[in-house]
């Protein structure tokens, strides 16, 4: 990156070119230029005038270009006549600013006084009080006494709900427009707007349901005053009383960095509980954003329904027992086990998985499965995954992001946001899907295929790339099987992909996000291979900002694949009737119909946070700890291994999963259980080559990040932004080794032909999963069980929008509501997972029957 010389308060600094002056002054000169409306993640608007500085340019000799110096040898500066806003200034060579002169101080004092004219004296009860930029800047620049009349203060509404999650205090709003700009410009959800003008100006929500975005909580973080507060945290504690613990999102594959604000709580029996969830800055992963699911979905950690003691089935009933008794029953049974199936849940940490694998190895005939078993190809990701050092922020104009078979907003909201923002910077978005999603309107190329046909779509893309002559010749020398691949894609199923193929061929960097919508597990694996083929032949592997990102349905599925767990094994466990099944931290029986087969197992052990449909068939239920009570590591879809730390007190007698498995293994003759998760990781470091460098100490390394968003400064507050837990490390991919051979393999499109309507399971962000449904605050956002259907199909079936219908899929009957969507292709019926209390089909399945339920007309008496 090229550098320029700027002068701040007479001091010379070398800083990167094309960066914002405010960011640079803070990062390189430790000079906090106060701002309200400016935010490093958004385009400047220069509305609040708080950042006024004296600005000028170094005089240069016009002929030689040399800097003109005065008699002392200092550069001569031509100052601009008036103060300028620093936030709207990009640094250039010879820029000089003065931030500490009296003129600047007076200007800042005046702006603060002006902003305070109608700001209420609410600090004692305001949730922002203590981490409020306005409060801090008032301490620094406030007048102490106002020249305005106190009676002239505007009194406005103080408790305006913007939806059920966010409250607006109109009095406190200083009209910086950060929230509206965040929603409009960054997320692309046009849900907040300004209404009226002048002193009457106010924020209103213009969507129905109100504030309808999956990122609404972030507006409360970036609000520089206490105007926006969350319903979850409202008056929960004062910021200085909270202890921040670095942690990770337990739901999504993005590995979003969060900070758990914890405090002792009388209502929770004097335990330390999570009061709120704040984002933690990690420029590689989630910058400073988190989805509302991450932010408001933490209540399962302290639910009253948590299991507290081991349960053993006696006479058909689960009865409380001690850990020793439970271990005894399990070890006795495992010693005689003929076969063992292990299903690891989506938020089993790497340490849990490792100990689980050690335990499973005790039984010779064992399967290591992962849940949900929707996606495959973890090994492919380890070959052609995104290079170490990948950052969506580094993608530039002309680069390409390909999203295939995924509704990114619902499945991985952080990736959705970063993809959308990258597109705004000029990155070309290629979207392959069977139906339009929310990302479609931002895509440069919307390539549609028939449901189940994703592999042919990618093959067609490869064909078009070959046809356009955009194959990367350099890489072909280390690629095996190219000729067969080229031959196999001779006849593309889709012929209109040429423009997209050219964009891919011309792109310097390309990231492919591959999902699983509408695909069976086998098809999905083929899709991953097809994506790998595309990436390899175009040379987009083995480098940062290039490669494959799988949209896993869980926080640590990648880690599970790295340690030898697969979705194929899960299918095998469903199909074979095994002697013993161990389900770790998930609820297959309650979520997928195939898992009903687990009832046939002779002995089922489940570790769980709650009583679920799976614990109902278990012989032994062991209480596990949630992510907040223990430490460990997750591996994100970008293969970034990151640590989370112990935040709250233990519930009951629950133990971390790794400890449970290690104890059982010990009683079966294994080694003594390790004392800490870190010690387990040390063992993984030795045993798994790609994790050799993932030592706890290294994962906790915390380099300085630009722009500097966190900290105890006056910048824009929110101590929780500060990252003290480390930014993690990515595991290396095979392709990054320049000596490694890469192989491409022709993949056959295995498009099954269905007659009639096909139920396509989809994933929604807000569902009634075991963990998320404990957050009662979010219940309004979780849709009722429903299907989405094309209007023509609906008409043919005689149903209309809003009807309640009974559908039968594979012999299972579901009562669902009908939603009509005319953008949906004919023949497909979307059925979101985990909305009802019944297990759902996990793969596309023929709809056997659909029948309208006639609601009895309510008869009013009298």
């Amino acid at each position: 990156m090229s550098e320029v010389t700027i002068y701040i308060d007479g001091q010379e600094y070398r800083v990167p070119a094309n960066t914002n002056l405010v960011d640079v002054a803070k990062f390189y000169a430790d000079n906090d230029i106060p701002v309200f409306c400016y935010h490093p993640k958004m385009a400047p608007v220069g509305m609040c005038r708080m950042c006024l500085v004296k600005m000028g340019s170094v005089e240069k000799n016009r002929e030689t270009g040399e800097v003109v110096t005065d008699e002392n040898g200092n550069p001569k500066i031509r100052w601009f006549p008036k103060l300028q806003t620093a936030c709207t200034q990009t640094v250039y060579d010879g820029l000089a600013i003065i931030t500490n002169s009296e003129e600047v101080q007076v200007a800042r004092d005046d702006i603060i006084e002006f902003i305070l004219t109608s700001h209420p004296l609410d600090c004692p009860i305001c949730d922002k009080g203590g981490e409020c930029p306005l409060q801090n800047l008032t301490m620094r620049h406030g007048p102490g006494q106002s020249v305005f009349y106190y009676e002239d203060k505007m009194h406005l509404d103080k408790h305006v709900p913007l939806g059920e999650l966010i409250y607006l205090d109109r009095e406190r709003c200083i009209q910086c427009a950060r929230c509206t700009r965040f929603c409009d410009e960054l997320v692309g959800d046009d849900v907040l707007a300004f209404h009226e003008r002048g002193r009457r100006l106010q924020i209103v929500t213009i969507s129905d349901p109100p504030f309808d975005t999956k990122f609404s909580g972030n507006t409360t973080d970036i609000c520089p005053v206490g105007a926006l507060t969350t319903a979850d945290f409202r008056f929960g504690a004062r910021p200085w009383e909270l202890k921040e613990v670095p942690s990770l999102d337990p739901y999504g594959p993005e590995g979003a960095n969060i900070s758990l604000s914890t405090r002792l709580d009388r209502d929770a029996g004097g335990r330390i509980v999570i009061k709120r969830v704040m984002p933690r800055q990690n420029e590689y992963v989630n910058e400073i954003w988190i989805s509302d699911k991450t932010r408001f979905g933490h209540h399962h950690t302290r639910s009253d329904e948590r299991l507290t003691k081991p349960l053993i089935r006696q006479n058909g009933q689960l009865a409380e027992a001690s850990w020793e008794e439970a271990y005894q029953v399990i070890t006795d049974r495992l010693r005689a086990a003929k076969s063992l199936g292990v299903i690891a849940g989506p938020n089993q940490s790497n340490e849990d998985l490792w100990e689980l694998k050690q335990l499973a190895s005790h039984v010779e005939n064992h399967h290591l499965g992962v849940f949900p078993a929707t996606m495959s190809g973890g090994d492919i990701v380890n070959t052609v995954g995104v290079g170490v050092g990948t950052n969506f922020l580094d993608l530039k104009k002309g680069d390409v992001i390909v999203v295939v078979a995924s509704d990114l907003e619902e499945e991985a909201p952080i990736w959705y946001l970063r993809t959308k923002v990258a597109r705004d910077r000029g990155v070309k978005l290629v979207l392959l899907n069977a139906r339009p999603t929310k990302l479609s309107k931002y895509a440069k190329y919307n390539l549609t295929y028939a449901y189940g046909d994703a592999v042919s779509a990618i093959n067609s893309l490869i064909s078009a790339v070959i046809g356009a002559g955009k194959i990367n010749d350099e890489i072909l020398s280390r690629v095996d099987g190219y000729d067969e691949l080229a031959k196999s894609v001779k006849k593309p199923a889709y012929t209109n992909f040429t423009e997209a193929a050219e964009a891919i061929g011309d792109a310097q960097n390309m990231i492919v996000l591959a999902g699983s919508e509408g695909l069976t597990l086998a098809q999905q694996r083929e899709l991953m291979q097809a994506c790998a083929n595309l990436l390899i032949v175009t040379g987009h592997v083995g480098r940062p900002n290039n490669g494959l990102i799988p949209v896993w349905h869980g926080a640590n599925i990648q880690g599970a694949y790295d340690l030898g767990f697969t979705a194929e094994a899960t299918e095998a466990i469903y199909q074979e009737s095994l002697d013993v099944v161990l389900v770790a931290g998930c609820n297959p029986v309650g979520e997928v119909v195939e898992a009903e087969a687990l009832q046939n197992a002779n002995f089922v052990v489940v570790t769980s946070l709650f009583e679920t449909e799976t614990t109902a068939i278990a012989d032994v239920v062991l209480p596990r700890q949630s992510f907040a009570e223990r430490d460990g590591t997750f591996t994100s879809g970008e293969r970034r291994v990151q640590r989370f730390y112990t935040a709250q007190g233990v519930i009951g007698e629950s133990l971390p999963d790794w400890r449970i498995f290690a104890e059982i293994h010990y009683r079966l003759g294994g080694p003594k259980p390790k004392l800490s998760a870190g010690a387990v990781m040390a063992e993984i470091n030795k045993a798994v080559p790609s994790y050799a460098e993932m030592r706890y100490k290294k994962l906790a390394e915390m380099p300085r990040q630009f722009p500097d968003v966190g900290g105890e400064d006056l910048y824009y507050g929110g101590t929780a932004y500060q990252n003290r837990g480390g930014i993690g490390q990515q595991t290396p991919t095979v392709a990054e080794d320049p000596e490694a051979r890469l192989s491409v393999r022709p993949v056959e499109a295995m498009t099954p032909k269905f007659d009639g309507l096909v139920v396509i399971p989809t994933t929604l962000l807000y569902d009634r999963g075991v963990l998320f449904r404990r957050s009662t605050l979010m219940h309004q956002r979780i849709p009722a069980p429903h299907i989405v259907i094309n209007p023509e199909d609906a008409e043919a079936q005689g149903i209309t929008d809003g009807d309640t219908v009974a559908i039968v899929v594979e012999g299972h009957r579901y009562e669902v509501q009908v939603k009509i969507d005319k953008t949906l292709p004919r023949g497909a019926v979307l059925m979101p997972r985990r909305l009802s209390n019944r297990p759902d089909p996990s793969v596309p399945t023929v709809l056997e029957s659909i029948e309208k339920i006639v609601q009895p007309v309510p008869v009013t008496e009298g």
Partner: protein, 164 residues
């Protein structure tokens, strides 16, 4: 001569009435600014002054105060404004009676009064809860929570000393 002086002093004091204060029967009047046990005050209409801002807890050098706040509604109103103290506890054995909480309080809710007879046979008895600290409802006032007209008590820090 010296011995006579000394004897005179003795006689002088022997003739004076004893200085002993017959505590507990007789209690010495403490100074006006003496800092004893705290009370939480109310407005004249019975609403609690405390808004649960926790600034007293922040100011407390001994970490003796514990506050948990909750939100008022017009149906169940404890204090003016949006916020009130759901839990308010002072550990009298931790408190050093410095009065910083008084200084920090934005609504003059907490005041250190003159009561000082505080000894306990159990440490747990020393934690005074909100019920033990709050003063009785004044004459003409109503006990909290009150049901009030919407919009009457919008602001946490009332403009008037004693709002109607």
């Amino acid at each position: 001569m010296g011995i006579i002086n000394g004897l005179l002093t003795t006689i002088k004091y022997a003739l004076q009435s004893p200085v002993t204060i017959q505590y507990p029967e007789e209690e010495r009047v403490v100074r006006e600014r003496y800092k004893g046990k705290h009370v939480l005050r109310r407005y004249d209409n019975g609403l609690e002054r405390c808004i649960g801002c926790s600034l007293c807890a922040a100011a407390c050098p001994a970490d003796a105060i514990w506050v948990e706040a909750a939100e008022n509604t017009d149906d169940e109103r404890y204090s003016p404004g949006e916020r009130y103290a759901k839990t308010y506890e002072i550990n009298m054995l931790r408190c050093i009676f410095c009065g910083y909480c008084e200084d920090a309080c934005p609504t003059e809710a907490i005041v250190l009064e003159h009561e000082y007879q505080l000894s306990f046979t159990d440490r747990r008895d020393a934690i005074y809860t909100k019920d033990m600290l709050i003063v009785p409802v004044p004459e003409g006032g109503l006990p909290t929570p009150q049901k009030v007209e919407p919009g009457t008590f919008d602001r946490a820090i009332p403009d008037m000393e004693d709002p109607k």
